[in-house]
């Protein structure tokens, strides 16, 4: 280094650790939260202190204590145990809606982008049509039409869920098709399936994974909302949204509704952190959003 350079005083750099923590901390925290809930959902029967539907009327509406960490509800059931079991349905519903919706939607979108012309126009207009309904209301109407129950509610959510993925899938496919490396692969005489699997898909999966992760929280929120409105589950089944609904008038016995809601909040925050972290990791330049 030159003498002149050495003479120049440099401002102190911010500590590397702090910067890394700021950048990657939330992503790790999010991953830990999500992983913890998945473990809870899988192991619920072994870690829950009580069966989720064990009614104990004399012990109803007890505040949190050593015996009942999160108190008991109107039927004397252990809120903590029901909450652990509730993770199963919430996560299952979230994953199935988003994964199926993403698979269906992106397929439609990619087909539309690939086919162009009439098919593109028709598929996208249909997508627009579904998007012109407010999702919650449409899901509510369909779920009501199909009848109460988790499977029907998931089906209803699927109907309103795929269009955004169709739009994303189409946009990504269009971008990819005009990429020079895709043209280069064509010039090299590679077969279409090879171009699709080796060049297009790997570069599309990133943005898709980000949206899927962010959307999982969203789907869990919506499912809980529909359950809260009485559509998601048939009563004794433990589900977070319906647990909040059961306790929504018990302002004095706040624990009945507060803890299940908190559970939803943590899962959704976890997925949001994961999604943001994934986006930063995939695209170090776009660290804006």
């Amino acid at each position: 280094m030159s003498a002149t350079t050495a003479a120049v005083a440099l401002p102190p750099a911010r500590s590397r650790l702090r910067r890394r923590l700021r950048r990657y901390g939330p992503a790790w925290a999010g991953g830990a939260i999500v992983l913890a809930w998945i473990v809870v959902a899988l192991l619920a029967p072994w870690i829950a202190p009580y069966p989720p539907d064990a009614v104990d009327i004399p012990a109803r509406l007890q505040p949190p204590s050593w015996n009942h960490w999160m108190g008991t509800d109107t039927l004397g059931r252990d809120v903590f145990s029901r909450l652990l079991y509730g993770a199963r349905l919430s996560l299952f519903a979230g994953f199935s809606v988003v994964l199926l919706g993403a698979a269906l939607g992106t397929t439609i979108g990619i087909v539309a982008a690939w086919a162009r012309g009439w098919w593109d126009e028709a598929l996208m207009r249909f997508t627009d049509l579904v998007l012109c309904f407010p999702p919650i209301i449409l899901a509510l109407a369909i779920a009501a039409a199909l009848g109460i129950g988790p499977v029907n509610t998931i089906l209803a959510m699927l109907v309103v869920w795929w269009p955004k993925f169709a739009r994303l899938g189409r946009a990504l496919a269009l971008v990819q098709r005009s990429q020079e490396y895709v043209e280069a692969a064509t010039v090299l005489g590679l077969k279409p399936h090879r171009i699709l699997t080796r060049h297009i898909l790997p570069n599309t999966l990133g943005p898709l994974a980000v949206l899927v992760t962010l959307d999982l929280g969203n789907a869990i929120l919506t499912f809980a909302g529909l359950s809260f409105l009485g559509l998601g589950v048939i009563p004794p089944m433990p589900e977070w949204g319906s647990m909040v609904a059961e306790g929504r008038e018990l302002v004095e016995q706040w624990w009945v509704a507060a803890f299940p809601g908190l559970a939803i909040l943590t899962v959704v925050v976890g997925f949001n952190f994961c999604g943001d972290g994934l986006r930063d990791w995939l695209d170090p330049k776009g660290r804006n959003r």
Partner: protein, 336 residues
């Protein structure tokens, strides 16, 4: 510009027509026989009665003719009779709409007033404490379930601290203002009834904050991202090189560009507020469309659900139309 508006209007009308077809299909694909539901077991066992009944309601006609009849009814404002209230669905909707409109509008204004400045500040002082605050608020806003937040707010500020009034639009013993619109804030102002105005405003505080929470989160996020993007554009550097003051650079050059995505989201958010009031209204016993929707869904009151879906979808379309039109004002590149 007028051509653009005409084009958008036409597209919206076509969409509305298609939407009504979709709703009609959903209504007619309901499992369960409407004959049974309407006539009862005994009458339904007589084929002649059933045939007469089906003919009367046009159920023996092919699907597309029934759709024509449905459209005809729609044109006359006939949305059917609610099973639960036994009143025309349209009357119910007209009765409950003002409460929701008032709540959603207040929540919408609240989310714009908080979200946009917060988003701008977060982008300008990126990585500073304002930014951290904005990110925390938007994360909690979009992650907290509305119905739970409503409960928590009620439990704390009404049940615990008693700072806020309880559920409902007014004190249980108060009389609603006899104004022209059914919007209590507006009507009480109109009648110079300050006591009622105060009461209505106080009752709006908690529900509007709850309803706005998710929207505040979304608008803050979007504004921040759009502003960060806009602040990195070359034209911002050009305007700094011109010697514009920093506030002018941010507010006159960066902001107008950042507003385009915010307006899209804002329009969508308003429509979603109208629709998403379902949960807030349920917890706050707010006598609006949301609670009506909840009750109808719980009672499987199908005519009501169809009616609400249709009305809300058309509102949704109208809001989207307005978003498209405001694009044309904000971004000259769209005006074709």
């Amino acid at each position: 510009m007028s051509r653009y508006i005409a084009k958008r209007l036409l597209a919206a009308a076509i969409m509305a027509l298609l939407a009504s077809a979709v709703i009609f299909l959903i209504a007619n694909l309901v499992p369960g026989d409407p004959v049974l539901a309407q006539l009862g077991d005994i009458a339904a066992s007589d084929p002649a009665t059933v045939a007469r009944w089906r003919a009367k309601w046009g159920l023996d006609l092919p699907l597309w003719e029934r759709y024509g009849l449905f459209l005809g009814g729609l044109a006359q404002g006939d949305l059917g009779i609610s099973i639960a209230t036994r009143r025309p669905v349209l009357d119910d909707i007209i009765q409950y709409a003002p409460a929701t409109l008032e709540l959603a509008t207040v929540a919408f204004l609240l989310s714009l007033l908080v979200g946009i400045p917060l988003g701008i500040a977060a982008a300008v002082w990126r990585d500073g404490w304002v930014d951290s605050l904005a990110r925390a608020i938007s994360l909690l806003g979009v992650s907290a379930p509305t119905f739970w937040l409503a409960f928590i707010m009620l439990a704390i500020f009404y049940g615990g601290l008693q700072w806020a009034p309880g559920p409902g639009r007014l004190d249980p013993i108060a009389f609603p203002p006899e104004g022209p619109t059914g919007l209590f804030l507006f009507d009480s102002l109109w009648l110079r009834d300050w006591e009622t105005f105060h009461d209505a405003a106080a009752h709006l505080v908690l529900p509007s904050i709850v309803l706005a929470a998710a929207t505040i989160g979304l608008i803050t996020r979007t504004t921040r991202a759009a502003m960060l993007d806009s602040l990195q554009q070359d034209y911002v550097r050009v305007s700094r090189a011109k010697g514009m003051r920093e506030w002018a650079v941010v507010l006159q050059h960066a902001l107008p560009n950042a507003l385009v995505p915010v307006v899209t989201l804002g329009g969508l958010a308003y429509a979603n507020l109208l629709a998403g009031a379902v949960m807030t209204e349920t917890v706050f016993a707010w006598p609006g469309l949301g609670r009506y929707t909840f009750r109808s869904a719980a009672a499987l009151d199908f005519p009501a659900i169809v009616g609400i879906t249709l009305v809300v979808s058309i509102t949704y379309l109208l809001v989207n139309l307005m978003v498209d039109l405001s694009y044309a004002i904000l971004d000259p590149r769209v005006r074709r």
